[in-house]
Point group: C2
Chain length 306, copies 2
């Protein structure tokens, strides 16, 4: 019999990573979605990104979103911040935790933020200092951690080194982003080996997979068997993938919770309420989302016996 | 570092399990699909079912399909047989291997074939005798092995007992069917524990998952870590699920091969040729299939760096 953790933490990224890759919806609708999610038992919600609204229109109005949501005690509302201006805005808007992103791939980092990886790591240190001064924790996200759409494979040593430098620079935890869905269980296994080797404890590791090539939940399973207990997912599978039109984006929150709960791994989340949120998300973006349990129903659903 | 087998065997079930759950297509198109599949390196193809064409119209003309395909040396063309008449037809049509099915759930078995599980096991013994007399191997398929849409959970002891009785009755191997997509990794793990306990060797075990609730490849991963080396999958994800309109059916062959090959687990299959088959399958059934790698391309696909 294999061994699994008794419980895991799910971070819902639909309102940020998901909606960022959809056509913009109104602030009011984003607030509605976040409030519905915070009522399911989810304790971590990536709510907004304090980026330039010109650069990323779906994330415009982050202050307004943060001001209008109904804060649920015990729920951490996270905000992605790309720079000092973003960090100032996030702190002023009373985000509970900040997220800083550095790509493990030089080409991807330069293309995204026009800086070298070194420059972004230096920038992340400054942002971590600002967060700590405000009493907030910081998650350092290493993107393209399982491959880069420009460079191809990224060495695990390079990925782990970026994570180690973010932790040294003040990040309280690190997450590894499978930005374009290139992870397979072997690559998850290999990265966790390297993190073990350099002494990054699995307790501060989060995994963020995209299901672009169908391996999302298999990658989560590999993480689970290796002791990881924090996973990102997106309600209904909100968010496409800019490099693969028609392909799905993040791991689907309700599909993940459905699998975990049947594995007797507690998430603290009400699956039925989560499925309602997935239908709401689908309604708000006006297109069919890739979530499967929202269509098939949970495995406990019964057919009619004759 | 986790350990995985060096190679696995994939049985392509699209032409039977897949097409059986689609609107009927012409014999000529079924032959075209099977011939395209046999050119990819696949060595096991479930080609037809010798059922009553009135009961299951998409499987009509099984003799004609078997007569018109171009047999590739080394490829095993399998045929599902529900009864003695079916076995006679399959043997006359020169199928290479016969499949017999018994449900682990009494309700599901009675509803499907109007017989008790005991009666179906007795029938399977007769079919195995007929196959062996003709020099052919028999795979015993235990359906609803991870749950029944009518009865709910099915005890692993009951599932394993059906498998053991099929093996005692002459089956050369056994496969476990996740008929309506109710498997999760924990249930795979628990069934394999029980098979170990009663002495069914993993070498004669095959796993057949449906991705109805997104867990297909995670279930395969669990099987791999437990030593299973034979998995069914359907090209493009052909085949819906009668209990979940809009939900996907079998594990997608090209998505499975894509994951396995990146994990350095050899399948002997040409992924590019397989993706072409998935596009062909989509064209033949005239609807979008759920396969993801056929849309996103393999992980080795590169974007344009600026």
């Amino acid at each position: 019999m294999s061994s699994f953790p008794e419980s895991v933490e799910i971070c819902e990224v639909g309102p940020r990573d998901g909606l960022q890759n959809e056509d913009p919806i109104a602030v009011e609708q984003r607030v509605q979605l976040i409030d519905a999610l915070s009522a399911t038992g989810l304790r971590q919600i990536e709510a907004v990104s304090f980026v330039s609204p010109t650069a990323i229109p779906p994330m415009a109005g982050a202050e307004e979103v943060m001001a209008r949501i109904t804060r649920v005690p015990g729920v951490t509302y996270r905000a992605l911040v790309p720079n000092e201006r973003g960090a100032e805005r996030a702190i002023a808007a009373a985000a509970d935790e900040l997220e800083v992103v550095v790509s493990a791939s030089e080409t991807h980092n330069r293309r995204n933020v026009r800086r070298s990886v070194d420059e972004s790591i230096d920038g992340a240190k400054v942002l971590a200092g600002m967060a700590h001064d405000a009493g907030l924790p910081v998650d350092g996200i290493v993107s393209t951690a399982f491959g880069c759409p420009y460079e191809g494979d990224v060495e695990v040593a390079a990925v782990a080194a970026v994570a180690a430098r973010l932790l040294e620079g003040g990040a309280d935890s690190v997450s590894f982003g499978d930005t374009t869905g290139m992870a397979t269980p072997r690559r998850v296994d290999a990265l966790l080996d390297e993190l073990d080797r350099i002494g990054v404890p699995s307790a501060c590791v989060g995994l963020h997979f995209h299901n672009t090539r169908g391996t999302g939940l298999a990658n989560v399973l590999m993480g689970l068997t290796r002791g990881v207990r924090r996973f990102d997912a997106s309600i209904g599978g909100l968010g496409g993938c800019p490099y693969a039109p028609g392909a799905t984006g993040n791991v689907v929150t309700e599909d993940l919770v459905h699998m975990l709960e049947d594995m007797e791994i507690a998430t603290g989340i009400d699956l039925d309420a989560l499925i309602e949120c997935a239908h709401l998300a689908q309604h708000l973006v006006g297109r069919d989302l890739p979530g499967q349990v929202m269509r098939s129903g949970p495995r406990t659903r019964r057919g009619e016996a004759t």
